[in-house]
């Protein structure tokens, strides 16, 4: 008698040969150029090896060959979706060596633009995550509506949409143009509703749930072992957010929550974590606009007419906490001899910058610790025994930016 073909028998008896498949580097869903060498048993992934380095641009080496002033303009390109954070990490590391205190107004400006940048990064992720899951119609471009608004604002203050060169060693580059704060405040008012719209489309959609729930489970211990950071780690139940754990800048004066999932996170939890983070970032921006010393740029500009923008340190409208830069930068910018490390919480996780300076106009050594790199390292473990179709769902959910991996 021929036994009935159960799933179990199929798996045991009909063993097929493993197949080696090369995914990428020119794959539209790999967010850049990532190559995955996959060993497949039928549809199931048995082994996966990411091959990185296709986008290597020697960012660290360039830092040792360009002056500080020139290098600041370059590092936005390390992680092109969140340029503010790379600038911020470098600036903080250099400020630690120099031992300068950044004016309070500049710190608030930094938090505002950085949180805006976090929003743009998460919004782009939301759109591409939809594409990764196969939602080709409509959804991918809805988040771009808000992202455009934010990028327009960032362009107005920094000069370019993504290569900002705005956060500098010792402060920020310039004051906001007229009407900027009002536009931003208006945006933050309508933003939560827009997020709710996306949630209405995605969060409870049965197809979306099937594709994401219990897919790509990242156990807490594994996440810690691999040094995973950012929302990916917090979705696995580790409450590590530098903004809360080691508050830098003015984050200790702001009231915000950090979403942490209390179980081993799957793709859905990582999605949810980022959605809540967007709400929190929005809250942070609102608080900063209310708290910023000196008020909005327009108010301050009016006040400065009285003292004709004297720039003296003891002036009530100009110097001290109300300046945006400790000292105006010039091409001969130098950092004192010494070494320093600083980390910030970027949209992808802890972004660290380690610099050694000998006091000359170029750095002696620069080292970046990029979150995407360690997040990508855990991918082979996550993909094990998942279907090919789930690869992109899982890969999309850990939000890796390839230039950030390869630098």
């Amino acid at each position: 008698m021929v036994p009935e073909m159960t799933e179990e028998l199929r798996a045991n008896k009909l063993k097929t040969d493993e197949m080696l498949i090369n995914m990428g580097p020119q794959h539209p869903a790999t967010h850049g150029v990532l190559r995955l060498i996959l060993k497949l048993d039928g549809e199931l992934v048995k082994h996966c090896e990411p091959v990185v380095g296709h986008l290597h641009r020697a960012q660290e080496w360039q830092g040792q060959n360009r002056t500080w002033f020139q290098y600041q303009a370059l590092i936005d390109r390390v992680d092109y979706l969140s340029g503010m954070f790379t600038s911020w990490a470098l600036a903080r590391a250099a400020e630690k060596i120099d031992d300068v205190k950044v004016p309070l107004r500049a710190e608030y400006m930094r938090v505002i633009v950085a949180e805006m940048n976090r929003l743009t990064s998460h919004l782009l992720w939301l759109g591409t995550f939809g594409i990764d899951l196969g939602a080709m119609m409509g959804l991918p471009f809805y988040p771009f509506r808000e992202r455009e608004e934010l990028l327009d604002l960032l362009e107005a203050i920094a000069g370019q949409r993504m290569m900002f060169n705005y956060i500098r060693i010792g402060g920020v580059q310039n004051e906001a143009p007229p009407g900027w704060f009002a536009r931003l405040f208006k945006f933050t008012g309508s933003f939560p509703d827009r997020i709710d719209e996306y949630e209405a489309i995605l969060s409870n959609n049965p197809i979306f749930l099937k594709r994401t729930k219990a897919v790509g489970i990242l156990p807490r211990k594994l996440a810690i072992d691999y040094g995973v950071t950012g929302p990916t780690l917090r979705a696995s139940g580790v409450a590590l957010d530098l903004r809360k754990v080691k508050p830098y800048s003015v984050y200790d004066r702001l009231d915000f929550a950090v979403p942490v999932c209390n179980r081993d996170g799957d793709t859905y939890d990582r999605y949810m974590c980022r959605i809540i983070e967007m709400h929190e970032s929005n809250k942070i921006i609102r608080q900063c606009i209310e708290q910023i010393p000196g008020g909005t740029a327009d108010v301050l500009r009016e006040k400065r007419k009285a003292c004709s923008a004297c720039g003296k340190a003891n002036c009530p409208h100009c110097g001290g906490d109300l300046a945006i830069m400790v000292k105006k930068q010039n091409a001969g910018l130098r950092v004192k001899a010494g070494e320093g490390f600083a980390a910030v919480e970027s949209p992808r996780g802890v972004l660290g910058c380690y610099i050694i300076s000998t006091g000359s106009d170029t750095a002696y050594r620069i080292k970046w610790r990029n979150p995407s790199f360690s997040n990508l390292a855990v991918l082979p473990e996550l993909l094990l025994d998942h279907q090919i179709a789930d690869i992109m769902a899982i890969f999309g959910s850990i939000d890796v930016i390839l230039p950030d991996v390869d630098r």
Partner: protein
């Protein structure tokens, strides 16, 4: 059984809710900007094509050939040719080349320029058929008086002070305004034949 029906109903409701959200968008005005027809309104800080401004009032060229921009440029895409004028003993600009194919629009050159001469304009449509055409010479870089006035106002730059002329030629003392106005046109015409060589 009931559970399954419930789940199906719930799923159906959620899909409808999502579709309704999408459907609501059809009544709203479009958010996309149709670029070639609708030009974007760019902010003053925007870093587009580089250009050299002239004094909006007198029309004299603002560049003093200090080479600060050339030195600071990370991509080494600025090339300045200047010489000491035999009559006045002052630096005189002969040619100013910027290779926009190399430029990364960081704006550092505009930050270090002492006279706000080199500026980022709001122009971004600069596609060309050859790389050579992306190398702009002094003539293509120099803005007209009106354009300079426009950008000085848009970027909120301090108005330039007229150059303190030590009155090199005796006749210049009599009619300073005219000689100032003539000078930039001399300068900008000079490299014309040179660039074609």
């Amino acid at each position: 059984m009931l559970g399954m029906v419930g789940r199906a109903a719930e799923g159906f409701y959620q899909v409808c809710r999502g579709l309704w959200t999408v459907f609501k968008h059809s009544g709203r005005p479009p958010t996309t900007k149709e670029f070639p027809d609708v030009m974007p309104e760019l902010p003053g800080a925007f870093r587009g094509r580089l250009a050299l401004a002239v004094n909006p009032e007198t029309g004299e060229h603002l560049c003093i050939s200090c080479r600060q921009c050339e030195r600071v440029c990370p991509d080494k895409c600025i090339d300045i040719t200047a010489h000491k004028s035999p009559q006045t003993g002052k630096l005189e600009l002969i040619d100013f080349k910027i290779d926009h194919g190399l430029c990364m629009f960081c704006g550092l050159c505009t930050e270090v320029c002492p006279t706000s001469c080199i500026i980022n304009t709001s122009d971004f449509e600069m596609s060309e058929y050859s790389r050579g055409a992306l190398i702009y010479d002094l003539k293509r870089l120099t803005l007209s008086q009106e354009e300079s006035a426009y950008y000085f106002a848009k970027k909120d730059l301090p108005p330039p002070k007229p150059k303190a002329k030590p009155a090199p030629k005796p006749e210049a003392a009599g009619d300073a305004g005219e000689s100032l106005a003539q000078q930039p046109s001399d300068v900008s015409q000079q490299p014309g034949p040179k660039a074609e060589e």
